[in-house]
Structures are given as structure tokens and as C-alpha cells.
Symmetry: C2
């Protein structure tokens, strides 16, 4: 399947110019520059022979004029507050290039590829808003009440962009047979393994929890160690036990992170009376996540049974369960990768969240990764070698053709 | 030596009314209500037959009209931002009551007791400003450049209070033979031991240090545990080693506290790339403080030799060396305590800093403690039983008489 690398890279560079900040991109969902980028994207879709709409939440959807069944390829074009040029953007522009390439190829001239840029994957207002709307989540409440960190109301942002009240694009069971999301890896595993393509087996589940330790605030000079109930010291001791317990449960892909610690009152002269630990852990295996939660509850109970400092465990965010990628789509991507880049690909879980985990509720979904240089993302210096961008697009095009042709002949 | 408990408690209650906030007191150095309290105090000193001045930094000094030698008794009447009614205030009002009591007693009618309320012990602008000025520290630079946390300039506060350019009270070697500072304990050791009076042996030295851990900021989902350089996890591991090492070096009075931890960027989804730990430790033994510093430097070197996350140690504040209280004054206070409260007193170090550690540079100095209920201070609920306040004043009066009479007869 022949793609046009210069056209793909040219589109990516042009998209990068919307919100360009040094080597990075600042293009928050529904900001003026994001709306400009969406209008440009809709025009590029029209140039490619797709019928584009910007829907009632801001998702850009390019529908092939060909009758279904259709393969949907997409990702997002909004960015983090200090974002890179490829996170999300890559998958949308690869989708557009695959749609053009298949239309230009005799064998696939009649198949339908729809392309989507889901709004607000990065959560400026509400994470995954576009993909959630697409699969039929009740997002009306979100639309009317969500606000950004800066205090802007989502409803006002939609009104400013002229999108209020527009229809929202919805999953069409009579048309959409599968979803592919090409993406940068955002980690360093492909690079470390010397591979160029990752076929994603699953998107990990996530738990976010707060552990609050309550002791006794005291003068740090006049309170002997023997009578202290130091909430900070208890927190540190707990982390040691938790690390030990989690190491017993983990496999090589399990990750857990203490991203924030807050000691109260935070003065050098005061023994902390309260200490908060914010914990996140991720795994592709739902049973392991449950086992880690159970272990944590056990550690908390043991800790409280000791007396002294007490600890309370609460959810800091809703639990996300792991989402397995469709096996048949994995097989198509694996065959495409072996054709285009023999021996240079591997299967791997996605440690980051993606729109694909939402879309997978409605239809078979799968992802394909290209390497992130130095494993860096969510940063201005995020980058991927051009040859890997092109390779990823070739794999996506091969797989797309195979998926659609297999469906037609079945 | 007969004192007047009702007069003492009445004065303390009246001082409490300046800045009263619930059960606590907010009377920051040189605030309008603090200046009012100083004017009231100066008037009470005049009533007691002392010649009062409010000097060029705000210290209230009541000089006995009797010729020297004089015993100086004092503490401070400024408070913490959320202060209690006795921290500092107790020592000043006990000093005034002792001056009055000795003047009313035939045997001590002719001895001189001067009374001081040192400005800004609590460091609204510059900690120990009054006592530092008294002993001859070059404070001119401080007066012209210090600002409060709220951004107010010390020079402006002095001008507002009408104090700019006034002479500053200075230590008079031909007059002052010793300094006594009665104070609340601010800890729970007297209470725990069932004692009513503490004779202070030394004021502990303090070290305040920052340990900055530098690793690699990374995505908490896509970065396997095996390749992380997590600055927060390194900080936690370091604390474990430090606690173990310090426990080997410590005696029962050694204290160390991690009062603040900051992980950067502090997001649940990001492996911390930088982590700061703020450490304070205190001990009455200078050699032990040096040994703890040396051990810390050794732990830092060992840690850096491992590679991965690096750590850098810097001073967060100037080192304070321990200050021994004068042996002869301790003996006078011990005898007075045994007379007034037989078997109810103990010797103990002060874990908190006090003006006495500054004044001790110029003359023999010692402190006497009364119990803090529940060991609480620097808090609105700080309190001491009235019987302990009165007992502390009796011990101070007995000791003051003995010190002055012993000096006269020598």
C-alpha cells in the first residue's frame, strides 16, 4: 500500500504551526488556535474527498463518501498545556493519509475510511469528551457544567467557537466495523528494545488514591522523638512497606508512582500533624489491580492497628479498568508490521490512556505505536524520527487495507 | 520571698487582652496592637517604680532606680501569627512581679531588678532583634532591609510607631550581673514527668538543611519501574537511611524532623524529576550536631556514588550552636525550686530557642520553665495552670533575691 510520506509530513508540519511554541505546541482544546486548527483540518479532509463536520463538542469528523462498511482511524489534535507536536496529531494525520492512500490505490479505491480528531482527549475541560460523546456517554451534564483550570466554562468555549447546539457525531453500528489509533509511544520501551513499531495489546487500568496520615502537630524542638506522632515519618514508613508489597505483586509492566506528598503545616520547626500521599498505579491486568487495592487496604488496616498515627485511604479519581485491544485487529497490525518492518516490531501494552479505550466500548479497536525519542512526551521536546512516522503510517495503511478487504470478502 | 499572685495574674490577663483572638493572641512585633501593649507595659513598669523606655527597635526596658549591680529579668511580648497568651508574656510579667516583690521586701528593698521585653523574638521581621541589639550585634543593616512575610519594611514599622532614631538600650557591663528568663516549657516533658518547674541546663543548637534530589521527570504510565530515576522515591529511601544513622548517634534529647517535602511537578501522572526534603535537627551537644552533619555528608556521598538519582545538601538557615546556661545561676534556681516546690522540679535542656541564648553572650544567663498543658505552644490553645504560673514566679523571686544578695555579700 503506497503512501505519500511528503504529504503526511507536510500536513503534520502545518498542523504543528497552530500553537507552535519553540519546538512544542500549546493548543488547548477549544482555544482560538485549536479552533483554527480544526477548521484547517476540516479543509484538508475535504481536499481528501471526505465530508467533514466539526460537531457539537468540537470533534472533527471526516466521513468517507463511500458506503460502508467503514474503518475509522483517529486520535486527537488538542495538546497538553506544554505539549509536543505529535501526541495525538500523529494519529489524525496518519488517518487522513491512509484515507487518501487507499483512495488512490486500485485495490482499495472503493473502501471507506473515516477519520476523526476527538475533542479534549487531554482534559482541558473534560478528558475524552469527544470519544465519550461518540460512543453515547451522557455528556450533556459535562457540557453544561465543566470548567477549565482557568475557570472558563466549556459551554462558553463552545459558544465562542460557534458550536453550541450543533449535532454530535455518533457511532454508527451499520457502518463502523473497527477503530485504529496510531500514536507515539510516550515511553522509552521501543527505543530500549531497538524496535520501530509497537502493536498494542491493551491499555492499562489506573487507580488514583490519596492516603491521609493523621498524627499530632508539635514543636520540633521541644517534643522528644519518643512521644511524637509524626504524620510525615509515618507516611515515609508506609511507602517502604507499600513498595515491598507491590514488588511482590508486580510484573515487569506494573507501575506505581507517588507523585505528590504534602506535609502540614510544612514548616521546618513543626512536627507534621497531617501528611497526604497521592498514589497512582497502573496495570494491564484487572486482577492485579484488584490485588494491589486489596493489599493496600490490608496495609492500611495493619498500620491503624498499631496505633499512633492513623491513615485513611480515599479514591483521588475514578478507577479505570484495563481495556484489551481486539485480537483480530492486533493480528492484522502484526502482519502489516512484519510486512513493512520485518523483525522491527513488538507487542506491548499502552501505559498511557487513549481515546481507543473509550471507542473500544462500541467496536473492535486497536492501536499502533511509533517510538518517542528518549521516551519523552507531554513536553515541548517530544519528538519521533521522520522514518518512524512514515513507517507507522505504512503499517497503518497495510493493516487498514487488510481489515477492509478481509471484511468485504467475509 | 512574698509575691502577689493576683497582681501577677491580673497583669497577664490584661496583657492578653491586647490582640486577644479567642483563647489565643495575635500580637505580631510592631503591629499597632503590639505598640499599644508596649505602651501599657511601660506604664505598668512606671507604676512599679522602674524607669521605662521603648527603645529604637521597640524593646521595652524598665530600669530600676536603684544603683547596680542589677539582675535583668525578661522575655518577649510579641507573639507568633497564631500565638498563645503565655509564650514570652509570662517571663516579662514574672520579671515585673519579681521587681515589685523584691522592692516590697525588707531584705531586698535596695537591690536592683531591671525588666525587659525584647522586640521580635518570634521573627516577624528579624528573630531576636531586641536581644541582638542589646548585646551589640550590628543590627543597622537588619533595621534598614528586613521585611515581614507580608512585605512590610521594618524601617516603616518603626517609623509608624514613632521609634525611628531613638537610642537603643545596650548591655551595661558595670550594672548587669546576670539574666533570668522565665518561660513556658512549650513541650510536654515536665507534664510527662509530673514536675512543676524546669531548671534549664542549655538551649539546644539547630541545623536546618535542604536535600535536593534530582532524577528524571517521566510519564507515570509509560515509564517502566526498571528505568525510572524517581527523585521522590530516592528521597523516601534516603530518609530511611538517615533515620537509621541518626538513631545510632542520638541520645534521648536529640530531635530531628522532616517538616517539608516537595515533589516536582507534584502531579499524580508524572514521575517526580526533583524532590526537596527540608530537615531540622537539634541537640544540646555541639559535638553531636557536628557528628550528625558529618554523617549526613557521608550518606549524601554514598548516595551519589550509587548513580541514578543525585542529591545535593545545602544549608536552609544559619547554624545555631548550643548555649550552656550558667552553672551558678542553675544552682541558684535549683535551690529556689527545692525551697518553693520540693521534689517537684527537674533539670532539662530547652528544645526551643530563646532570647537567653543571645543575652548569654554578654553575661551569665539561665532560664526557668513552667509546664505547658498538653505540651502545646505556638497555638491559640497554649496554656499553663495558674498554680504553675505562680509557682514559677515564686521560684524566680527566690532565685533573684539569692543571686543579688549573694553578689552583694561577695
Amino acid at each position: 500500500m503506497k503512501i505519500n510520506p511528503e504529504r503526511l509530513l507536510g500536513d503534520l508540519r502545518q498542523l504543528r504551526s497552530f500553537g507552535a511554541t519553540g519546538p512544542g505546541v500549546v493548543r488547548l482544546a477549544l482555544s482560538p488556535v485549536d479552533i483554527e486548527a480544526r477548521q484547517w483540518l476540516a479543509a484538508r479532509m475535504a481536499d481528501a474527498g471526505l465530508d467533514p463536520v466539526i460537531d457539537g463538542v468540537g470533534t472533527v469528523f471526516g466521513r468517507s463518501r463511500k458506503p460502508g462498511p467503514a474503518l475509522l482511524i483517529g486520535s486527537h489534535t488538542d495538546t497538553q498545556p506544554t505539549g509536543g507536536w505529535l501526541d495525538g496529531a500523529l494519529g489524525v494525520m496518519v488517518g487522513l493519509e491512509v484515507a487518501r492512500a487507499l483512495a488512490e490505490n486500485d485495490e482499495t479505491r472503493d473502501v471507506a475510511v473515516d477519520v476523526a480528531s476527538w475533542i479534549d482527549e487531554e482534559g482541558t475541560f473534560a478528558g475524552f469528551l469527544g470519544s465519550r460523546s461518540f460512543v453515547g456517554d451522557p455528556v450533556e451534564e459535562t457540557i453544561s457544567s465543566a470548567t477549565s483550570r482557568d475557570g472558563q466554562r466549556l459551554a462558553d468555549a463552545l459558544a465562542s467557537a460557534g458550536l453550541s447546539g450543533r449535532p454530535r457525531v455518533r457511532f454508527d453500528a451499520s457502518r463502523h466495523i473497527a477503530y485504529l489509533e496510531p500514536h507515539i509511544e510516550q515511553g522509552g520501551r521501543l527505543e530500549a528494545a531497538g524496535k520501530s513499531i509497537g502493536v498494542v495489546t491493551s491499555i492499562v487500568g489506573i487507580r488514583e488514591l490519596r492516603l491521609r496520615f493523621t498524627g499530632q502537630r508539635n514543636h520540633a524542638g521541644t517534643t522528644p522523638m519518643s512521644i511524637r506522632r509524626d504524620a510525615g515519618a509515618a507516611l515515609v514508613a508506609f511507602i517502604g512497606r507499600m513498595d515491598e508489597a507491590f514488588r511482590q505483586l508486580a510484573d515487569a509492566d506494573t507501575v506505581w508512582t507517588v507523585g505528590r506528598i504534602e506535609l502540614d503545616p510544612g514548616s521546618l520547626s513543626v512536627v507534621p500533624g497531617q501528611a497526604d500521599l497521592y498514589l497512582q498505579f497502573r496495570d494491564a491486568n484487572a486482577q492485579r489491580l484488584w490485588a494491589m487495592e486489596a493489599k493496600l487496604a490490608e496495609l492500611v488496616a495493619d498500620f491503624n492497628a498499631q496505633g499512633g498515627v492513623s491513615v485513611a485511604l480515599t479514591a483521588a479519581d475514578a478507577a479505570e479498568e484495563p481495556v484489551a485491544m481486539d485480537e483480530a485487529l492486533q493480528a492484522h497490525l502484526a502482519r502489516a508490521a512484519e510486512t513493512v518492518a520485518p523483525g522491527q516490531w513488538m507487542r506491548m501494552p499502552s501505559g498511557a490512556s487513549h481515546d481507543a479505550q473509550i471507542i473500544a466500548r462500541s467496536m473492535p479497536a486497536c492501536m499502533v505505536f511509533v517510538p518517542s525519542i528518549g521516551g519523552v512526551s507531554h513536553d515541548f521536546i517530544e519528538d519521533t524520527a521522520e522514518e518512524h512516522i512514515v513507517l507507522g503510517c505504512r503499517v497503518a495503511a497495510e493493516a487498514a487495507a487488510a481489515i477492509l478487504l478481509a471484511h468485504r470478502s467475509s
